[in-house]
Structures are given as C-alpha cells and as structure tokens.
Symmetry: C2
Subunit: 223 residues, 2 copies
DNA sequence: AATTGTGAACCTCTTCACAGCT
DNA sequence: AGCTGTGAAGAGGTTCACAATT
C-alpha cells in the first residue's frame, strides 16, 4: 500500500527521479537552443546552463542510450527528440482537474501545460454552485460521478487541488477509477498503491525550506 | 556563482534538503494530531502517516536534538513547537510577489501561506497596465524600482512568477537588492550566489515526471 | 515492555578519470 | 585534439540493530 518515490522502475531499468527531473531541464534548454539556431551542444554546455556537472549530464543520458558523437557533442534537434520520446512528450496527455479553487483555476489557464501536450479534458468539483458552470469550453462535472466522467473523458492523469481534508479520499477514488498518475497540490502525503505515481507540488513545504534557510544563524528577534 | 541545493549548511551542521522537507510534513501531521486532541505520538506513527520509516523520523529529529522520551514517544505540542522553531515558523516572514500572472494572482489568495506566517507585503510587475492597480490592500509597484521597494517593504523572500525569459534578470536584481531566498515558479534553472537559497516550483517538470512514468512499457500508439 | 537515539552497514547517486570514437 | 560513454571511486542519505531510558 506504500510508495516511496525516489526512482521509477522502467523498461530502462531503475531511473532516479532526479535524473528524470534533469531530463526535463535539459529538454527546456535544448528547445531554447533550437530556437536560437544552435545545432550542436556539448555536455559541458548543457551542464553549465543547468547548474550540474558535465559527467552528470552524460551519465543521465547513458541510462537511455548513446545520443552523442565523441569529439563532436550532441545534435540539438536529435537529442531534443530523444528526450521528448523518453519523457513521453511525443504524445498528447489528457488531464482531469479535481477541485476548482484558486490554484485549480490558475492551472487551467497555465499555457505551459498545453505547450507540452498536456490538455485538461475534465473538470470535477463537489460544490453545487460550481457544478454545471463552464470554464473555458469545459463544464464542471460532479465529483460524485468521478469514475464515470474519467472513463468518458479518457483521462490519463489527475491534477488534485482539493482541500487537505478531502485529498486522500479523492485519491482513493481516482485509484479506484484506474488513474495511475496524480499531480498532488494538497499539502498531505497521499497513500496510494505502488503502481500509481504521485508527484507533489507542495508550496508550503517549499516556502518553509526558505524560512529554514533564513532562520539559520541570523535569527530575527523582532519585526 | 553556482549553487547545488541538496543540503543546507546551518548552525546544526549539514542538513539534507530531504530532511527539511520531511520536517514540514511531520509538522503538518503534528498540527493535525493536536487538533484531534492527541497528546503523544511515536516515531512509528509519524512514519506511517508520512510514508517513511520510523528510523528515518528519529534520524531526522536527531540532527536538531533529542525531543522524545524513550519508552513513551514524543509530546505532540512540544515536538510541534520544536519543529516550528527549527523551520523558522515562529516568526513572520514578508514576501514580495514578482510577476502578477495567473499563478501569481492565485498565490496572493493562497490561504496556507498566511496560516504559516508568510505574508505578501509587496507586489511588483513590469506591465504598465498593472502598475498602480490594487490587489487586495496592496498596490502593484513598478518592477524597475525593485531594490527601493524591497527595502521599503522589509521583504525577506521573493516569489518569482515572471516569464522564463525575464526570470534570470529579475533574479539578479533580487540578489543585488539583498534577497537571500527565492521561490521560483519560472521553468528555468536560476543561477545565484551560494548564499542565496532558491526553491523551484516547476509544474511542467512534475507533470513530465508523470508522463515519463506512464509512457513506460505501455506506450500508447494513438488517441 | 515500549520506544528513543545513534553508530555502523548498506544502498543510491554523483563525480572522477580515462578508454574509445570522430 | 576534442568530447562522449562508462566502470570505479567517492559522497551522501537511508535503514539496521541495539544500547539506553522510561
């Protein structure tokens, strides 16, 4: 019943989450370089732009194949396409937004998702005042009909932005409905079966990292 | 010029970022337990609720002191207070929001920040149509006057939600203005001096983790 | 009897360093 | 000569296992 997400077991073997995250970053760099008309890039250059070592860059790629040419570097377009394939960005993904609050509404308008082929095709909420209203070209559906609606909309992933109290119960329903990937904005640790991937976007934790860093040594006495 | 954020060097020694993140999670659990009227908790129970091992919980605490009683467990209120102190949650923090877009606006209304003593006291943007308008009880200030405004508002941390193209330049200005902590929503790797802490909230990376997980094995051919 | 606190073992991730291509 | 790809070494984080304490 328990998942520790430090790695993913895949057809490539065990891949560290950190590696996957860096691939996303390299991908963004490569897109940028491509628009700049740059055709070739070295691991050294990718490293510099992403604040890692060049050995790290090469090692990250090595789990998936050999994409470069010794003595020359990497072809920007080829490498970009390879990473897109690895990350699954060469296909469309359909998202369900579960919970239409502040954050949820912002995500619906978040262009970067669409730019990477992630599309919201379903919106769910439990608030009768919201159910039936339209946001963009989607109608807010009743959370009580979660399983049916998810099947109908061919949803691949769920973006969970409900209050903390409701999050685990909704996660259970998502799992029950067959969802295998959840982006969780609720500030709790979701417990899901091992075949379900959860990624957390926990802004309170991140800001508390910052206060931890600042609170060190120079503790402020008063404001 | 380069920062790898895997740990923080502090008065407690080197503390892994993962430990700090877990402290935030334990803290949330303790708050919950306190409202439930629970007065004592074991490392086993904290572990279960946060999906880690009990040894991990005890080790995490051990970097900061000995907060429990052998044979009995931890006093919920005491432990909560200790973690609050460690994380710097026993004081108010003033935030600047830099960039008022979708996400920025949602963050201004994000209650959990205020509940943890994080308050926005300054809003900056470069768009003339936004400068001078009011959001809540704050006036949007001109990004060009960043340093002055930050000094005036006694800002501790910046929340950066400007477009990727502008992010590094704004980060440089924040650093120049003396800011030591940045919560970055822009989808790029910010390069900052070692004494500046950056935490990234990169939703595109997180969702690409999910597509990586789903793309594995069962690659979908068509939709 | 129960549960913490922690050194040591273990495991995972990063970096080194160099052989192998271009 | 330049740069990749990778086995081995190194660093760091997690888990074990048990002495210490209530």
């Amino acid at each position: 019943m328990i998942v520790r997400t430090k790695e993913s077991r895949t057809k490539y073997g065990k891949i560290a989450d950190a590696t996957v995250g860096r691939l996303s970053r390299y991908y963004r760099t490569l897109k940028h370089l491509e628009t700049q008309g740059v055709s070739t890039v070295s691991s050294e250059e990718l490293a510099r732009r992403n604040n890692v070592t060049s050995a790290q860059v090469r090692k990250d790629f090595s789990f998936f194949g050999a994409f470069g040419r010794r003595g020359l570097g990497y072809n920007v377009s080829d490498l970009k396409q390879n990473i897109a394939r690895i990350l699954g960005l060469d296909q469309e993904w359909h998202l369900a937004l579960v919970g239409v609050g502040n954050i949820g509404r912002a995500l619906l308008n978040f262009r970067q998702f669409q730019e990477q082929n992630f599309y919201f095709t379903l919106i769910l909420d439990s608030d009768p005042a919201k159910i039936g209203t339209r946001i963009g070209n989607l109608e807010v559906k009743n959370l009580d009909h979660l399983a049916d609606e998810i099947r109908r909309a061919h949803v691949d992933m769920a973006v969970l932005s409900v209050p903390a109290e409701a999050a685990q119960k909704v996660a259970d329903q998502l799992v029950e409905a067959g969802i295998k990937a959840i982006l969780n904005f609720a500030p709790i640790t979701l417990l899901v079966p091992p075949d379900v991937t959860v990624r957390n976007e926990n802004m309170v934790i991140e800001i508390e990292h910052l206060s931890f860093a600042l609170a060190e040594g120079s503790r402020k006495i008063e404001r």
